[in-house]
């Protein structure tokens, strides 16, 4: 059991992250102060939340490239809502964000489920459509900090039991995702549908509908992140989180989620996101230009996918041991 864990993807990735942190700490001890590590976790929270949604989608053999556009659109809608009705309770804002995100995800899901359109085509298309809609509803203008109400901006930064609410939300999403993915029929269905769609049909699962729910969850999490993003950075405009979908997919690939579907864990996705988060936060500390980040995450994706394919190469299982020659 312990041995199996030590050889697992998560253990290797955790080790890689610890080594990375240790190397950085050798030159810059300040990096490993608890306050800074908590800060790195907090900074990576949006990526972790989105990576969990993306993981579920990838498990079902799909991909969701529209998450960043979904995030930006939801963020813009709640910001405009906040301008229009500054006294709206935060619970309502959160509800609007999550439901709007879910609806945008459902749109992807319906196209994949009912019309059988390849997910990459659907989400490439909705990615540009959602971005375009932001421009239409905002008329290309920014929503700036002074236009947002104080409570709207304060929530993700509000400190509760020593950690910002943003971190707590990420933690809650992680815990709920672990329970759903390992302890519920829906969670197991995601694995079954991606692992072997034909077998899934014979066990009574509707492949398309399961993929639809995967897109819905991914969308809902993107919507939640949309509110957190605009309130944390206190700004909303057309291009926020531009290209972030690639980071999200990168986190999943690094976390050992197989693009062929059916393989991956919540822990893997979270660690993959943290790996990228540590790199991103370390670059300015060790005085490397932030322009390096894109190339590094690209290289990380390639290395991870090569390693994954090596690890998954099955050597063939011996079912019956060869009989000992009788002496």
């Amino acid at each position: 059991m312990i041995r199996r864990y030590l050889q697992s993807r998560e253990a290797i990735l955790s080790a890689a992250i610890l080594v990375l942190i240790a190397v950085i700490a050798l030159r810059f001890p300040a990096f490993i102060t608890p306050a800074n590590l908590a800060n790195v976790f907090n900074d990576t929270s949006p990526l972790m939340i989105l990576a969990i949604g993306q993981m579920i989608v990838i498990l079902t053999k799909c991909i969701d490239l529209s998450v960043a556009a979904n995030l930006a659109l939801t963020g813009m809608v709640v910001s405009l809502l906040n301008i229009a009705a500054p006294d709206l309770p935060l619970a309502v804002t959160l509800l609007v964000a999550v439901s709007l995100g879910a609806v945008l995800g459902m749109f992807n899901g319906i196209l994949v489920w009912k019309l059988n359109i390849p997910p990459i085509v659907v989400t490439l298309g909705t990615m540009t459509i959602y971005r375009g809609i932001i421009f239409l509803i905002s008329k290309g203008k920014w929503v700036n900090a002074h236009e947002m109400s104080a409570p709207f901006k304060a929530l993700p930064r509000h400190v509760f039991l020593g950690f910002p609410v943003l971190s707590w939300i990420a933690l809650a999403v992680i815990l709920i995702a672990i329970v759903v993915m390992t302890r519920t029929t829906l969670g197991r269905a995601f694995y079954a549908v991606g692992g072997n769609p034909h077998a899934a049909v014979y066990t009574g699962l509707n492949v398309g509908r399961t993929q639809f729910w995967a897109f819905t969850i991914s969308g809902a999490l993107a919507g939640l992140t949309g509110y957190l993003w605009v309130s944390r950075y206190a700004v909303a405009y057309v291009d926020i989180a531009g290209g972030f979908e690639l980071d999200v997919v990168a986190a999943c690939v690094i976390g050992g989620i197989s693009i062929a579907g059916g393989v991956g864990t919540v822990g893997g996705a979270v660690l993959g996101a943290l790996f990228l988060g540590v790199i991103k936060n370390a670059l300015p500390v060790i005085n490397i230009s932030p322009f390096w980040q894109l190339a590094i995450s690209g290289a990380a994706i390639l290395i991870a996918v090569v390693l994954n394919s090596r690890a998954n190469r099955t050597r063939g299982r011996i079912i019956l041991k060869q009989t000992e020659p009788v002496a």
């Binding site: 991909i63 196209l111 019309l115 059988n116 359109i117 390849p118 990459i120 085509v121 659907v122 490439l124 298309g125 909705t126 990615m127 540009t128 459509i129 971005r131 375009g132 809609i133 421009f135 239409l136 290309g140 057309v238 690639l246 997919v249 990168a250 690939v253 693009i259 062929a260 230009s289 322009f291 390096w292 980040q293 894109l294 190339a295 590094i296 995450s297 690209g298 290289a299 994706i301 390639l302 996918v305 090569v306 394919s309």
Partner: protein, 327 residues
């Protein structure tokens, strides 16, 4: 039910009937309709020079789309093309700073394209990795290298002779780019439809295993197609860089989306196995006419991208909706 079902009819339709009902005919009708609509909607549309300018909207993307069409027919995809354009442009820019001649610049641009294509091809064929993950990785990596080199600066100062590739005219209103587009369209059309290699491309896309057993070197065909796609991205980079006269790391950002849209709009099956070059050529004109016509009507670029996204989903969704409604 699923899109992978293939029906073999008892009797084939007559060639004329088949041609009339083909995707290309439908697309051509759409192109004519848009052209007519534009001619009535804007008084500036029917002007030889304006129309000539309009071709720049699609020539560079179409050059990549020809190679991408072959790649997608063979069942693979390359999402890194826009990043290859950026990297090739950066290399040319760096060479221009030390006084390289136009011929050298072109060679450098093409070589970088081929190298990038070879890199993608090697990862996909030699290591057996899924092309979508590999090229999402190299998409970050290639553009990331441009960002490392350029940061927030840009390259300019290209030699005067270099301008010809993007700004020169062969005869009257026919630009060099348009002429190159026409030549490449014919070359790729011949390659796909009249050569053994072209048949091999279809075979690989329809059933790689059967293709392998019938003596086609599947991996070599795929590798060559990645090389070709890289080369065409290099060609497009030469044209685009020459036309803009400067290189920033964000050059050609999001181009891959439009290239894939063009290919899918042209009737190429995103799952591989079918598609034609004439279809892609007409799709290029459709997209060029739409963006140019809307531009004349003062529609902002981002709103056009909504339309492109909707077009991408719509062209696949509508026939299926039609089939469901009739079926």
């Amino acid at each position: 039910m699923s899109s992978t079902d293939r029906y073999i009819p008892d009797r084939l339709q007559s060639p004329l009937q088949r041609r009339l009902k083909s995707w290309e005919t439908l697309l051509l009708a759409v192109a004519v309709a848009i052209f007519t609509f534009n001619a009535f909607a804007s008084p500036y549309f029917l002007n030889a020079w304006n129309l000539s300018d309009a071709t720049f909207n699609f020539t560079e993307k179409a050059m990549i789309a020809f190679a991408m069409a072959l790649l997608i027919i063979a069942g693979e995809i390359d999402l890194s093309v826009a990043s290859i354009v950026a990297l090739a442009s950066t290399a040319m820019g760096a060479a221009a700073q030390v006084g390289a001649s136009p011929a050298t610049l072109v060679m450098i641009g093409l070589t970088v394209g081929v190298i990038c294509g070879a890199f993608n091809g090697l990862l996909v064929t030699a290591m057996g990795l899924p092309s979508i993950v590999v090229t999402i990785g190299t998409m970050s990596l290639f553009r990331g290298i441009s960002y490392i080199v350029l940061g927030d600066t840009s390259y300019g100062g290209y030699p005067a002779g270099f301008k010809f590739f993007g700004q020169g005219y062969v005869w009257w209103v026919f630009s060099f780019e348009l002429a190159l587009f026409a030549v490449l369209a014919i070359l790729f059309g011949v390659l796909l439809h009249l050569t053994n290699f072209g048949r091999a491309v279809y075979a690989v896309g329809n059933n790689p295993v059967a293709a392998l057993f019938s003596g086609i070197r599947v991996n070599r065909v795929k590798f060559i197609l990645f090389l070709l796609t890289g080369l065409m991205a290099g060609v497009a980079s030469v044209c685009l860089t020459s036309r803009l006269g400067s290189t920033r790391p964000s050059i050609g950002f999001g181009m891959e989306l439009e290239v894939v849209t063009m290919v899918v709009l042209g009737g190429v099956n995103i799952l591989g196995g079918s598609g034609t070059i004439p279809g892609v050529v007409i799709a290029a004109f459709v997209m060029g006419l739409v963006t140019f016509g809307l531009g004349l009507l003062n529609v902002p670029g981002i709103v056009m991208s909504i339309l492109i996204g909707a077009l991408l989903i719509g062209v696949i969704a509508l026939p299926r909706l039609w089939g469901m409604w009739r079926g």
